[in-house]
Subunit: 623 residues, 2 copies
């Protein structure tokens, strides 16, 4: 009884301790990284964060309107999606630079999986958030390691083309163009004679202006002489304009459109009427009323299908890639699983304010970092600007020409298209072109299949390497076969054939030394292969020796209790021994004589190296 009581008390103590550890300040700080940086917050940080927050705010508002267009949703949904991330990330994020919000690629995914229906888009945000949060809690962030760079490049290049070309119709002022990529290309060219001059002129002007401002910014960044203060002021002004170029272009285009409209000239396709004010705070729609009756939750989930895997994964992938790039540039570490929790929470909470799925934006993160943001608090300013725009500016969005938004999008996504990658892959590793093209071409058809095809091809290439390991075969009187990588089940038949061809089935059977210096892993199937090979070589009285076995591999072979395993510390000793036995085999050739002729060759005698060697005295030679 006493013992049971003691044990119960111990268990209780352990439970309390682990509970205490769970609730410790350290854990709390890991979940809320804000507790790490807030105590160090300074007035300098505040100044920099304010500046960066305003700058990003001026970028996000026009982009949000444009990206909503890509997602096929009313423009205000872009803004609905742009503020929650800023606030939540401030509490939960581990990177000072990254800004969450709508992005071009995410908007493309939403347009595919949410059918241009806000109800689906918001539910998709909620469910994607749940998936991401669960992945973060289960620490599954490592899963993105299994998507190789060629696959990512294929996907993003394809998405950039799809998104970019999708805006050509808005530049040309064409209407009623379908959204499926191939149909879009066909009808854009088919209807090209219906191009509206006003939209074309405005769109092209906007693109030129954006490119010009971007080039100016690049030019200014390089200058770093000590000029007069007037020059300094001018430079600051130009640089501010260049940085907020999206806002400048959209506002300018809006003013032009407004003046034309005021004179009764309808020369541009405009954004048109948008819902006014802040979004309501309410749970995401778990069912939806349609003209054909209520669509229930399970039907909605079924409709979104693969989107529930693709959206959270791509969202995380995009965000983590950006966060890592800037963390490395600015010398800090991010925690991928905490990032998953931050994005997941953003999407879940966002869905309560009608947000569609969001992720890290490369463009705005770059702006944030370059403006010198010091903490995620900059996001609070950005979020406030978006809220203010929603509260007060929505009536003005009526006049924003679609061609201007299209120009913003095209200039944002074209740098994502990486045409040079093909040349690089060709030069570095031609085989990696296969997953690239699978993913690139597949994504035009359906994004999930494209990514999946790329991943499967990458996996097959990897498996092929395992299945057909390189082997260096040299002839020192006996054949020395040096495997260049691990020995696992897909390689077993290949290695068996190798030993047959060069050993047992050579014109005259030959001794073989299997040099395992590069063999770092072995599995049961391979162990079984070695057992069979050793016994077959024994039956024909042809020596098969092993050299350079690593300790962990030797351990495995010894525990498998393989009869007749002969191993040596290095290939030289093995060569020395096999040289003698080989001549014996040539002369009289019986298996048993080997033991009698060379009774002195025990493993311990051959061990002249520093490294410890397991000696198994029960192991028999040709037993």
């Amino acid at each position: 009884m006493d013992r049971a009581r003691i044990r119960a008390r111990c268990l209780f103590g352990a439970a309390i301790a682990s509970l205490r550890k769970c609730c410790s300040y350290g854990t709390f700080r890991a979940v809320f990284p804000i507790l790490g940086w807030l105590p160090r917050y300074s007035s300098h940080w505040l100044r920099m964060d304010l500046l960066a927050g305003v700058t990003v705010g001026l970028t996000v508002v026009p982009q949000a309107l444009a990206y909503a267009e890509i997602a096929g949703l009313p423009v205000q949904y872009g803004l609905y999606s742009s503020f929650m991330g800023s606030f939540v990330y401030c509490l939960l994020g581990t990177s000072k630079d990254i800004t969450l919000g709508p992005t071009a690629i995410m908007s493309l995914l939403v347009s595919i999986y949410a059918f241009h229906d806000p109800a689906y888009a918001v539910l998709l945000a909620f469910l994607s958030g749940c998936v991401q949060l669960a992945m973060g809690i289960l620490r599954l962030g490592f899963l993105v390691d299994f998507i190789s760079l060629p696959v990512i490049k294929g996907f993003t290049s394809s998405a950039a083309l799809t998104i970019g070309f999708g805006q050509v119709k808005n530049i040309l002022g064409l209407r009623d163009i379908p959204r499926q990529f191939f149909l879009e290309v066909y009808y854009t060219f088919h209807n090209i004679m219906e191009t509206r001059v006003g939209d074309l002129v405005l769109g092209v002007s906007c693109i030129l202006l954006l490119v010009l401002l971007k080039m100016m910014k690049g030019q200014l960044a390089e200058d770093s002489g000590d000029e007069s203060s007037l020059y300094q002021v001018c430079r600051t002004i130009v640089r501010s304009i260049a940085t907020a170029r999206n806002a400048v272009v959209v506002v300018a285009a809006g003013i032009v459109a407004y003046s034309f409209e005021n004179q009764g000239l309808h020369v541009f396709v405009l954004t048109g009427k948008t819902d006014r004010g802040l979004p309501p705070f309410r749970p995401p729609p778990f069912s939806k009323v349609s003209p054909n009756g209520t669509v229930h939750f399970d039907k909605m989930v079924w409709d979104m299908g693969a989107g529930l895997a693709v959206v959270p994964l791509v969202g995380f992938l995009e965000s983590i890639a950006i966060a890592k790039a800037f963390a490395s540039q600015n010398n800090y570490r991010i925690d991928p699983n905490q990032e998953l929790i931050a994005i997941g929470s953003t999407n879940i909470l966002g869905s309560f304010v009608s947000s569609y799925p969001v992720t890290g934006s490369f463009g705005r993160t770059a702006v944030n970092s370059q403006t010198g943001v010091c903490s995620p608090a900059g996001g609070i300013i950005t979020g406030t600007i978006v809220l203010l725009s929603l509260a007060f500016l929505t009536p003005l969005f009526y006049y924003v020409p679609k061609a201007a938004l299209a120009a913003v999008i095209i200039c944002a996504v074209l740098p994502v298209f990486d045409g040079g990658i093909i040349a690089k892959l060709w030069k570095v590793k031609k085989l990696d072109l296969l997953p690239f093209f699978a993913s690139f071409l597949g994504c035009f058809w359906e994004i999930q299949y494209g990514i999946l095809a790329g991943m499967v091809l990458s996996g097959i290439i990897l498996f092929y390497n395992i299945a057909r390991p390189d082997a260096k075969i040299t002839d020192h009187g006996v054949v020395v076969i040096q495997l260049q990588s691990g020995l696992n089940f897909p390689a077993v038949e290949y290695v068996r054939n190798l030993l047959y061809r060069h050993g047992l089935e050579a014109s005259a059977p030959r001794s073989v030394i299997l040099d395992c210096v590069h063999v770092s892993s072995i599995d049961y199937t391979a162990v079984n292969l070695l057992r069979e090979l050793i016994s077959e070589f024994q039956e024909k009285a042809v020596p098969l020796l092993f050299s350079n076995l690593r300790l962990e591999i030797l351990d495995i072979l010894i525990s498998a209790d393989i009869k007749g395993l002969r191993y040596f510390d290095d290939t030289e000793t093995a060569l020395h021994v096999s040289g003698e036995t080989a001549s014996v085999v040539g002369g009289m050739s019986t298996a048993k004589s080997l033991v009698n002729l060379n009774p002195d060759y025990h493993i311990e005698d051959l061990d002249g190296s520093e490294k410890p060697l397991l000696i198994n005295r029960n192991m028999t030679f040709y037993s």
Copy 2:
């Protein structure tokens, strides 16, 4: 014009040449291996083949009846499936020992995927044959390498249990027991009180007799003294009986049953009436008339579903494993792709004589080999015996008790169940227990999912090894990280973290030497990682050196044009150099000074080894 004519003539010539090569005697002989051994055929071979053919024939007839029962088909279908393989394999096979025909595992698969309907079973044979033939022509035989031994053992052990337990009801004489494994177990125990004494006594006696005869055979094989000729004759007789024990037991049980029936005592469940005579020669049924109307081809294919992948694959797997085992035992080579063609042709042609899918039989192949067969011609005798049985013995099959057939099956499959594998896997590689159990347990539920689950788990374990490569980290003043295997995309983030933790983000940033002696493969994602790491180490003026790069890896890195790559032939030289630069970094720490301080360290100066080294003079240090 002339040039075009010359080119056309060249093309024509080349086409003729390749056509001639295709039609050459060598190619012809590869397709028909019989041309290789027939010219060498001798009277000794004929004697041995006759003996072996008769022995196998006496084994296959009772087994065929029994296996048809497993497949859930009328008993004559077992015999229909038993002769085509013998004839076709004689023409197309590359192994002298293997005998194709119905097997326990194949019959189990047929019972699952053909719904106990002969029309489905015959169509399944045809389609499986087509798949196998196509795989053989496309030389896809290597695909079975991707099924690891634990998965195969899991599947065969599960199948052995399923088949073995499935016969318990016949031993007990129970009726109306469902065929689904779990229901079968439940109802067998539930109805155990309805056991029929006659069947039980007969079944158990048959099992005991079979075990006894098998043990006798094992005992006889060991004896090898020089005994009197009378003893020799007795031994031959006993051995013949022991070898043909299945036929002996079934005939004996049949006689017992016949005498009881003749006296009007119905104490055994009998096989009952079977169709008489040879099967008709006609195409397989591409549609089927059922009470609910005609079932069309596409519906039949749809119904068989995964069976069209599982049956051909398992069939090939079983056959190739057996062929390889006996080829290695008897010193000859088989060609896996030609074996695929042989099995595929057997199944296709078999479907014209109402055969269900067949494959190599382990038991009968062993009998064949032990009896001393010299060529596949033994199969002709076996096939003839089966045809004779069909023509003349079918009326007698009425009296074969089901319990006797059940005894034959149980004794055939129980050795397949390998319980010891669990202990072996535990000792050798515990992780391989996962795919074993996935496959073992999964196959009780559905065979295709069981095999698939096992294969996926094997793949994941393999991927995990790639994603988390072992690394040996040693400290020689600078950190030396030796990767133990190839560097591919799944490992990229792990290796990045390793270099961060031990290099850039150590309490004071430290120089790192990446020893790549075991790195035999690298892909684009990994090359990109190295590029990023080199540039990050450069930015912080911490040396990152590479040593022991293999030529092919170096080639890839050079073609990727990585700025600032510093590599050395061996780790000692790298240590020597980094020792100096490390102290420099400690002292004044600027990146540029490195080049100026050590202008003499060029790659060519460091090259003291025999192996050739690519020198790229354009490669810059810390450029």
